[in-house]
Symmetry: C2
Subunit: 335 residues, 2 copies
């Protein structure tokens, strides 16, 4: 079978690609080609696998690729929340127009490919004068408070309609905030959730732009990739009638994350995080969900991370054993 990953050179996309190559098959079929479409070239370890083909450039240049007859697609490419707030047109172009171009290509191919769309917990939010439940569920009305979230939600409905029409077999997995992301901070408003773990472990002082009582919904990279694959492999009937579902999360506060960091890495590491409010980030985050439930993903057998400790231990283990983690990542770790 031929699989496409858009955004496959990114952190989650490349990790998904490695896992698919390791598995060798998906939904019972052998993966013969794994195409990666992304702005940047995929990492060297992926390019070294003969099953990988890479198409580098903006998604808008890949109309022909999209129509070339894939059996399955993971659509992860997106401009992230912080940059979409700063550049409204970029968000519409990268998140809405590119998704339409992809869907049109898949429709033209005519083979009803399966598609998993990486949606986001950012579809939830509290309108002005409204309050969100402490835990958002799949029965909570989405009300995005970022352009990124609005575009993700619009794409969910577009994918549901393409599916209803029989053009694709689509489903949308709402990703929780993936933690810990390696490397440099990115333009996502949620970037600091990884930063407050990653930077102190690398020996770098870092600022947390929100209060320690801020609560959010987290998932490790491993659980996120597992979720994307499980949603791909699920029968549509098992999705419970709606095509968008929350992936499982562990819900908790910044304070709990830092307590876990201290318990894994010691007080000197934790002390590298200082609280320094950033009004722009804090404003965005104040409208976000403080936690999420994932009834339908749970029914598919998916589980959240056990603890913030296990998320941090997964990161430390990844730094030691996985490609894509810089050698200096654990320079600040004691002992």
């Amino acid at each position: 079978m031929r699989i496409l990953i858009t955004g496959g050179a990114g952190f989650v996309g490349a990790r998904l690609a490695r896992e698919l190559l390791r598995m060798g098959q998906l939904a019972g079929q052998t993966i013969r080609e794994l195409a990666i479409a992304d702005l940047a070239a995929p990492p060297a370890d992926l390019l070294a696998d003969s099953r990988i083909t890479a198409s580098t450039g903006p998604l808008s240049s890949h109309a022909g690729l999209f129509a070339s007859g894939f059996d399955g697609v993971f659509h992860l490419a997106a401009a992230v929340s912080g940059e979409c707030e700063l550049d409204f047109d970029l968000g519409l172009r990268s998140n809405l127009d590119s998704t339409r171009l992809l869907l049109e290509g898949l429709r033209q191919a005519g083979n009803t490919p399966r598609l998993v769309f990486a949606s986001s917990i950012a579809v939830y939010g509290a309108d002005v004068g409204q309050t969100l439940p402490d835990i958002v569920s799949e029965r909570t009305l989405p009300a995005p408070q970022t352009s990124y979230g609005a575009q993700k939600l619009m794409c969910e409905y577009l994918i549901a309609d393409y599916t209803r029409k029989g053009f694709i077999d689509g489903r949308s997995a709402r990703l929780m905030t993936v933690t810990v992301r390696p490397g440099r901070p990115n333009g996502a408003a949620s970037s600091f959730f990884s930063g407050i773990i990653r930077e102190p472990l690398a020996g770098i002082e870092t600022a947390c732009p929100v209060d320690r009582n801020v609560s959010h919904a987290f998932a490790s990279p491993a659980r996120t990739v597992e979720g994307l694959i499980a949603v791909y492999e699920a029968d549509r009937a098992a999705l419970g009638g709606r095509l968008a579902l929350n992936l499982p999360s562990i819900n908790g506060t910044i304070g709990e994350v830092l307590d876990a960091l201290e318990s894994v890495a010691g007080p000197k590491v934790r002390a590298r995080v200082r609280f320094e409010r950033d009004e722009r980030i804090a404003g965005i985050v104040s409208h976000w969900a403080r936690g999420a439930s994932a009834e339908r993903a749970t029914a598919l057998g998916l589980r959240a991370d056990e603890s913030f400790r296990s998320i941090i231990e997964q990161y430390i283990d990844d730094c030691r054993h996985r490609p894509g983690y810089p050698p200096e990542a654990l320079r600040g770790l004691e002992g």
Copy 2:
């Protein structure tokens, strides 16, 4: 002030235009120009008013008009449900792309114009294996089962995001099925809801494509126009935090509609309706809401029609006194 009505040559749009001209002002400001953008030219009675300007052609040709600095906009232009099911590309072009072009023009003008978007009860629907509540409320999760409904819902979220960004002051009024529409059947899957009243009153035999127990949510043209204007004039704070709201409806079955027709016009008129199932139409309608509530519109002071009788009496009165109703419309009325 300068007002724009897209779709202002259509039935609801022209009726809204007449009402605005009669009022002479909107939200306390004098209407100096009422621009109508539509595929077709507006009716003669509108063109005769010096405040009317007409731009005839597809919305895609009106980018300059949209950016010309309107104070307020009623966005009614759309391809309807039945034709969007038959022509998927038409729906995306007419309903999604045209709305984006309009919103971009309004954003470019830079004066944060107020906009009322005519959304639809078609945003609600039951996914396969799911059931809708008997009465959909504003807390019911939308799940459109037509491309038309999906496109309307996507536009609601786009308008909410343009509003959050301060580019426009937008709100979405979900129209119930407007009954009785005069003239010929149109491409809407809901067209027959008007047809089973209009045709027998004109002396024409007609087929009802669904069972008499099918229930739905209806509003008269007068209540619909009143709702659009009230949603325009409402303070954003009065909308209750969310920008999309249901307009009030009277909920009931085909059987109840026909009972009302008989009570107003006699058994001979009712007998002109025969039941002849149309699988395409019945399939679409089977996924629709059987009734709706409208808490937030009610809080704005809006009311549903009193009865199906009053809806039919309004139509008969309109046929006798309003422009746009053909002279033969009541040819089948007894006595």
